[in-house]
């Protein structure tokens, strides 16, 4: 892990960008999160960075944000980073950022992934957007029955359990998932 040591890899010269959001039009938590990066952590897929990065981000958020917001972002940071470490490509860095804007705050994790993973993620977010609670229940049910592929409880928790809006941005093979809420 490095703090503020390396820059994220440059994007392609002719990027194709798509965006998916779990927030509906009326949600106050949705929209692009552009603001000040409070923390940036860079790590590598497959590394053991999850636990200590999560502990650091949780402690930092608890010190700088309202308690309830910090608790929600702690869950978001854990699940997003866990996914990136498990499914991200080892050929490029994983970047986790804690970002604050005027009205929103969130955690963004970006990594490269294969197209099949990106498609699976997009579909999962659409299901969450449609009904987060139902998706959470379905994933929990798949845990009971030992579903294949492996149940995807993490993002369902982020959406349903702590009520963060998820924004997915895909630029070629680089995926950025942001979990955000009102400050």
């Amino acid at each position: 892990m490095a703090l503020f040591e390396r820059n994220p890899p440059p994007s392609s010269s002719s990027p194709t960008t798509t965006t998916t959001s779990t927030a509906n039009a009326k949600s106050r938590d949705g929209g692009a999160l552009n603001g000040r990066t409070m923390v940036r952590v860079i790590c590598t897929a497959g590394s053991g960075a999850l636990e200590y990065t999560h502990a650091f981000i949780s402690a930092y958020a608890a010190d700088h944000l309202r308690g309830a917001v910090a608790q929600r972002l702690s869950v978001g940071a854990y699940e997003l980073l866990s996914n990136a470490l498990n499914f991200g490509s080892v050929s490029s860095d994983i970047v986790l950022e804690l970002i604050e804007a005027d009205t929103l705050v969130g955690v963004r994790v970006s990594n490269e992934a294969i197209q099949a993973r990106i498609s699976m993620l997009s579909e999962h977010l659409l299901r969450l957007r449609s009904n987060a609670e139902q998706t959470f229940l379905e994933e929990l049910r798949r845990s009971v029955t030992g579903g294949i592929p492996r149940p995807m409880l993490g993002l369902a928790r982020v959406c349903h359990e702590v009520g963060l809006a998820l924004e997915l941005q895909v630029q070629d093979r680089r995926v950025s998932v942001t979990a955000q809420c009102r400050r």
Partner: protein, 125 residues
Amino acid sequence: MSQFTAVKVPKLETVAIQLTDPNQVKLSGTITQKDPSNDLAGFFKALHAAAIADKLTEVRADVSGLTFVNSSAIRLFVDWATWVKNERERYTLRFITSRNVTWQKTSFTALMSLMKEVLAIEQVT
């Protein structure tokens, strides 16, 4: 002699575990290990086997002090409920939860809806 209280309690860095009664286990702290089943699945399985051997009618799992768990840890609780459901001589698995801890409210409410024949949820604080 109670087999339940004789189960060996694992020592983990982030979670404290105590057997506080002949039918009660208390967990507090956080479960953030990437794969907590390495440490906890065997322990829960041993508690389950001991509860069956002791012919307990209820096992109380006090998780009210668990402030954060990852998805893999939630699956461990799902597994435990599934083992009970698959037994002919069942006991009730009662989770003692805190209404102040968000993950407990949503996860156990959802789990209850899937396993209501073997689970009970009690809220404290």
